[in-house]
Symmetry: C2
Subunit: 123 residues, 2 copies
């Protein structure tokens, strides 16, 4: 069981790091052999190097990130609904996302799955 406060702290750190482009802090939230599936249905990334490379690119466009509802802490996992604003140069978009973090015994995220699709992108 992950404690509510620890899960909330990880979620808030994650969202602020997306905005601040602090991808190294994001990598430190994950265990060394963690998996990232973003979006769900795409190839699953595994391990710190792959995760670092992913976020190094992913964070560059994010200008805002905010929770849009309660975090749901359940067992070793947390699900949370959020919205990011991304500046693509040609204009900004908003994306509605739900992420799932699963925590290991050390409180590191060992699995992340991001749920979003075309219908969640607003121009």
């Amino acid at each position: 069981m992950i404690e509510h406060q620890k899960a909330l702290k990880a979620v808030n750190t994650y969202l602020s790091c997306l905005v601040n482009s602090d991808y190294q802090m994001i990598v430190s939230l994950y265990s060394s052999d963690a998996t990232v599936e973003d979006p769900v249905g795409s190839d699953i990334l595994r391990g710190s190097d792959a995760i670092k490379e992913f976020y190094e690119h992913a964070v560059t466009a994010v200008t805002e990130a905010r929770l849009t509802g309660d975090i749901r802490v359940s067992g070793d996992e947390v699900a949370f609904p959020f919205e990011i604003t991304a500046d693509l140069g040609s204009g900004s978009i908003k994306i509605q996302i739900i992420d799932i973090f699963r925590f290991d015994g050390e409180g590191k995220v060992d699995s992340m799955r991001a749920f979003w699709g075309q219908s969640n992108i607003q121009k």
Copy 2:
């Protein structure tokens, strides 16, 4: 890939059946060997009989169920945030939940995971 409209229809059917206590319709959304984990971290139920027994009890207290944000369709899955109101006799409560449905090739739900914890219950 599940189509957005099919996923949305399943979600809306599910929520209306919770309110209408139509547990048999809920069972029909699932494949015969589907799994249900509600809440995440509890024992996983498998198969129509176990799922029917679970919902036969679960639906009795639900008086309202509504989406609180976009459904997120991603690969073969959909994540959706919702709120239920339940009448426990001694008063009503609201619970903020995020469910994940995974669909098989026939469009049936073959896995459901429900994320909610103590902090999501409002009296």
